[in-house]
């Protein structure tokens, strides 16, 4: 029910993002989704990739600070109100979202929402109970 996400520390310096993406490309790693969170001084790049171990190794080898976290991927129909429905269920369960980002899959029918919660287990329980589809790692990597 959980998907592994890679987080990379981004020094506030030009060209860092380009460097990371070309390292991944050189190692034949495909990015499924990404988001950048930033402050005035630094950023955090969060990535869902098809080969987690390989990506982690390649980036660490190039001198980047890398971490791994579990996130939840929720699939919703790509239409108005899709995200709102999920957030309503989360709000009613009093769950705190640490961060989230989204992407639309290739066919364009569904959107995938990536969530990180403070209470991951309870979030999974709540979302399943309310009838949402939670994707497994393999499903994301194969999208």
């Amino acid at each position: 029910m959980r998907v592994e996400q890679i987080a990379v520390f981004l020094e506030n310096k030009s060209g860092r993002l380009a460097e990371i993406t070309s390292i991944l490309a050189d190692n034949g790693i495909n990015i499924r989704a990404l988001s950048v969170a930033d402050t005035a001084d630094f950023g955090i790049l969060r990535l869902i990739v098809d080969k987690v171990e390989a990506a982690e190794q390649a980036l660490r080898g190039a001198g980047f600070t890398v971490g791994k976290t579990n996130v939840i991927a929720v699939e919703v129909p790509d239409r108005t109100g899709g995200l709102a429905m999920v957030l309503k269920s989360i709000k009613e369960a009093n769950l705190n979202v640490e961060y989230m980002y989204a992407f639309v899959n290739k066919t364009g029918e569904n959107a995938v929402l990536i969530f990180r919660f403070e209470e991951m287990d309870r979030a999974i329980e709540t979302l399943l109970k309310d009838g949402f589809t939670i994707l497994e790692s393999q499903q994301i990597y194969n999208l």
Partner: protein
């Protein structure tokens, strides 16, 4: 771990009762002043100006009446103007790097080289080194006194010396592993560099036979000691020396305590002074360390101001040595940054960083002037251990570092997290401060 039985090289001199030691010191001091007054014009001139004659030195307390010798005095008489013997009696010269001006040149007679080797052998024995050891000497060979000074002492002791010098870190590790090095001599920052490179090469400290590390030539903290000991699986001890006095082997920590380094007082007479007023401070107080050499022939110094901040402790040591101990050097009078009127030593920043769980002591201090305001930025490398995918965690970390620095140093700084190894690793002395202020 090394065993804790005291090993002496010259037991009698190292355990002399104070009265006996002081009488030797006075005799040697009187002889020195008389000789220097007679042979070195710059010293004679200074003493004449101060109205002191050699015969005025009747007790050790009279030392305080003599003028100080500054690095500038040595530079003004560059290269050989402070030598007391003709050059044909000088068998070797060393020089300090002249990063802030002309280098300072020091000379040694045959007897000086022998004295030095003997004191360095004392220092090595003090750290439990014996003839059975394989000494990996990673101090730089050349004009710097570290390499050759340690080398001659280790040979005198009868140990096997690997004169590996600085640099080429991977090869050094291979050599340590293949040759079975038991004693490592290097700067503390290079020891950390070795530890990191070992990690990259997949070599565990247990794969090496290192037992003790003798680290010096730059100030380092207790926290850094713990880190080096953990990462290299050895006992880390501190050594002190400077080329103007003789080189490494002026003072040495024993294995019994970590409360300072024994100064080889039968050869070097120490004082602690107030760096501003020049007044001699009582034992225990922090101030600038000043040395008078008692036995050197070619290049003796009288009340030489080291610019190192330390203190002296005359308590009896568990190792049995009666020699005074100097505290770890906590800073330099000229490394001292004055930021918005507050005195800041880089070692204090290091102390703060190691105190925070998971933070590595890899940092750089950047000082700038914005209008009429000094700003201090501390760049800290972010390790996998403290990294988080959440902004708020990293912001919490920078807030904690800022808070702790403010707490201990009394200065508000900006903390910038940077990638590991973004801060240039040193193969010798670490460059901790970049001062961009144009004053």
């Amino acid at each position: 771990m090394a065993n804790n039985k005291t090993t002496y090289w010259e037991a009698e001199m190292e355990t002399l009762p104070r009265a006996g030691l002081e009488s030797i010191q006075l005799r040697r001091l009187q002889h020195l002043i008389e000789r220097v007054y007679r042979t070195v014009e710059p010293y004679r001139r200074k003493m004449d100006t101060a109205g002191i004659k050699p015969e005025d030195i009747r007790s050790l307390a009279d030392l305080a009446r003599l003028p100080f010798t500054l690095k500038e005095d040595l530079r003004d008489n560059y290269p050989f103007g402070m030598f007391t013997v003709p050059l044909d009696e000088v068998v070797r010269v060393h020089a300090s790097s002249g990063t802030t001006g002309k280098p300072t040149v020091v000379g040694y007679t045959k007897k000086d080289i022998d004295t030095w080797a003997n004191l360095m052998a004392r220092a090595l024995a003090c750290a439990g080194t014996s003839s059975g050891d394989m000494v990996h000497n990673a101090y730089g060979y050349g004009l710097f006194t570290g390499g050759l000074g340690a080398h001659y002492g280790a040979e005198k002791l009868g140990a096997t010396v690997i004169p590996v010098s600085g640099g080429n870190t991977k090869r050094q590790i291979t050599i340590m592993k293949d040759f079975g090095s038991t004693v490592l001599l290097s700067t503390p920052s290079y020891a950390l560099n070795l530890a990191e490179t070992m990690e990259e090469m997949g070599i565990a400290p247990q794969d090496l036979a290192l037992r003790v590390g003798i680290f010096g030539a730059e100030p380092w903290s207790e926290n850094m000691r713990e880190e080096v000991e953990r990462k290299l699986n050895l006992r880390a001890v501190d050594i002190y020396g400077l080329s103007e006095v003789i080189g490494p082997g002026v003072a040495m920590e024993c294995l019994q305590t970590t409360k300072g380094m024994h100064i080889f007082e039968d050869h070097f007479l120490p004082e602690i002074i107030d760096p501003v007023t020049g007044e001699v401070l009582p034992p225990g107080e922090q101030g600038e360390l000043v040395f008078t050499t008692l036995t050197k022939e070619a290049f003796p110094v009288i009340r030489y101001r080291t610019k190192d901040i330390s203190s002296l402790c005359y308590d009896t040591c568990e190792c049995g040595r009666t020699l005074v101990r100097m505290g770890k050097v906590t800073g330099r009078t000229d490394d001292m940054l004055i930021i918005r009127g507050v005195n800041v030593f880089p070692s204090q920043v290091e102390h703060v960083l190691i105190g925070i769980d998971g933070v590595e002591p890899h940092y750089q201090i950047i000082v700038e002037r914005d209008g009429s305001m000094d700003t201090m930025t501390v760049e800290v490398e972010i390790s996998d251990k403290v990294f988080s995918d959440e902004i708020k965690q990293l912001e919490q970390l920078t807030r904690q570092i800022t808070h702790d620095i403010k707490d201990i140093l009394g200065v508000t700084c900006r903390v910038k997290l940077v990638n590991p190894r973004a801060i240039q690793r040193s193969e010798g002395k670490a460059q901790r401060v970049i001062d961009k202020r144009k004053i």
